[in-house]
Symmetry: none
């Protein structure tokens, strides 16, 4: 016995509207994508946050980006222990099966996951320190990043930690043998971005300066 409910009516109505308009106008393209398979040029790893502009800032259509979204856009270190690793599975599929040319890690302002990590590391969020807290344990990935910015003042530390989440993911990506190999063979490039969702700003990690710079 599966617990499920019918969709709210307003969502069903919106679907029928989409089917009668957007789908009709793009049917040829959607059918071709279904029949000839996806060939996305990039994988995007972003946060689940409802405010993050993942595709619209790049004018992207269906078929362009393979998108993994999790809390705080984190990639854990390589750990092939036979357990369930959803993020690692997504990276593996993108790089080894789809052969994407780019992996883009997109961080963002006001990230709730990063804020939780900050509070936890400061000792202000005991609930997140419980072994049973999935969010707390997930955000443990960012603890080394917190150490790097712990000296910053209260008004700058959160943005710095959000950017550390991007850098931590970039570093962890390179611990995956198939990622490192594709990067070294110049078949894959990694990109680190951070966006201010309210101001619409976009910064990218500049490898020359080892700092985030406005694009």
């Amino acid at each position: 016995m599966i617990h499920a409910r019918p969709l709210p009516a307003y969502l069903i109505q919106r679907f029928h509207g989409w089917k009668a308009t957007t789908y009709q106008q793009n049917r040829a393209w959607y059918r071709r994508l279904a029949e000839s398979g996806q060939h996305p040029r990039a994988m995007v790893i972003s946060c689940c946050d409802s405010r993050v502009h993942v595709t619209s800032i790049f004018g992207a259509d269906e078929g362009e980006f393979f998108i993994h979204r999790n809390v705080a856009n984190l990639v854990p270190p390589y750990n092939p222990d036979g357990e369930y690793h959803g993020t690692s599975a997504a990276v593996e599929y993108a790089v080894t099966s789809l052969g994407v040319a780019h992996v883009v890690v997109l961080g963002h302002s006001n990230c709730g996951g990063v804020k939780g990590c900050h509070d936890m590391c400061r000792g202000h969020a005991p609930a997140l320190e419980e072994k049973t807290s999935f969010v707390g344990r997930w955000m443990d990935i960012l603890r080394p990043g917190f150490e790097k910015v712990a000296h910053l003042s209260d008004d700058t530390i959160l943005r710095a930690l959000e950017k550390q989440a991007v850098l931590t993911s970039l570093e962890n990506l390179m611990t995956f043998p198939f990622v490192a190999e594709a990067v070294q063979a110049e078949r894959l490039t990694l990109h680190g971005l951070w966006t201010d969702t309210g101001e619409g700003d976009l910064e990218q990690f500049d490898p020359e300066r080892q700092a985030f710079m406005p694009v």
Copy 2:
């Protein structure tokens, strides 16, 4: 030393185009979302596949959906062992921190992860059976679902297994105490959907008939 590269120029140009148009036109809303926080009404769990119409079929704007995307839209069973569980963290954050009213699991046609699971369970994909295969281990979540459809013919089994992926996730969601509690308190409803991305069709799991029906 972080491995990263500048974004391709065409993506930067598209971003500046977005900033000058879509962003300018929606600035008030994006700023309010940034300042007053996100209040998404639903969490959507969908596949990373570039062809899945996750938000457009529901006419959704920034702020509406908290979106987790992984390979084959799977939720593993509740297992608070202190390890990294990205999907469980996303569900926990959505239900306990954001208090979403709905969790929608969205499966889709031509799912590469589901196809891999099928081939692996049939014994045709030894590479996926390796302990080190993240995709293979992740798709183990769907092995019980495969058993339920293993008797089907070649031309129907894949779609049936794609729908089992949705049902498996719905079942596993109910093993999370905070999900079951919210469902029982009628503060949360679960929904199972499957879409044909080429034909633009949408089916939902009907709890009366215990079957997927067109919306």
Copy 3:
């Protein structure tokens, strides 16, 4: 003995600059395109004119559009007589081999080919009426279009004729059996555009109103 000369030095220098910058930054994507083949979503038929913004107005990168450019963006009628038909070959390759989802005909302002057609049809360009004039004979494709706008005043007829060039091509495209078949099967859509290259305006043919309208 082939008549050819070395490239001018400034072009060689620009190439080496491109190789050291743009190519280096996009090598992964260009390699993947070379290895896994092109999967362009659309064919664009535009004029050879050096002023036409064929790809930049759509923020397009390598791999997105299969592009045929000829004088006045014309498609001749279907005529499988065994002779050389470069435009028909391009359309055939795009539709039957690549399976593009869209064919976009892009006309433009100040089109020299269209101006020549106008002058020839008005009897002011005897050289273009010579049998040996390739431009004159090519622009014969647009003679039926001229008849439709011949009543217009001098200050409006050229733009009207530029748009007739787009419509003539759209009509002729439908005389190709493989185009008509793909359109009827809803695997291909045709689109008619006209751009003012100086003002940066873009109009599209609106099938409801049977007229060009600003996008």
Copy 4:
């Protein structure tokens, strides 16, 4: 009744982004080009293939190159029979109306048209031998080129034939009286190039050695 559809929304959004940024920044130049006419320094004849870097490798802006693109960058022999000859019309317009100083023929790696010609000449592509195959008949232009490389091994013949396509076009260009005359008067030079689109390499035909050499 014209068959046409509205443009996909993502392309319209990208256009508005371009209009608000790239166009605004270059308006003065685009307007001057519109008002004072085009004065391109060269004509480029390249393939329709979406992967060919036609202008970016030369850092070219609007106004610089008059560009004809067809399948396999072929120029047919001079044949003023009063029929439609799109490529010949483009060459005539560039040389006699615009007075370009250079005609550059640009071939490329992994050319689908050249591959088709190879298969057809080997007897492995009967569909291309049909009278009604526009691609087959168009590629007949390259049959004499195939004879010159037919003795080569499977792993070198395709690249050699891609280069023959460039040489065939250069030879056929000289059969046009207005081309030969302009070349002899030293008002026009011809150039033969071949590019590896994945590796970003560029070779040019060296008239001294009668061979392609890296630039």
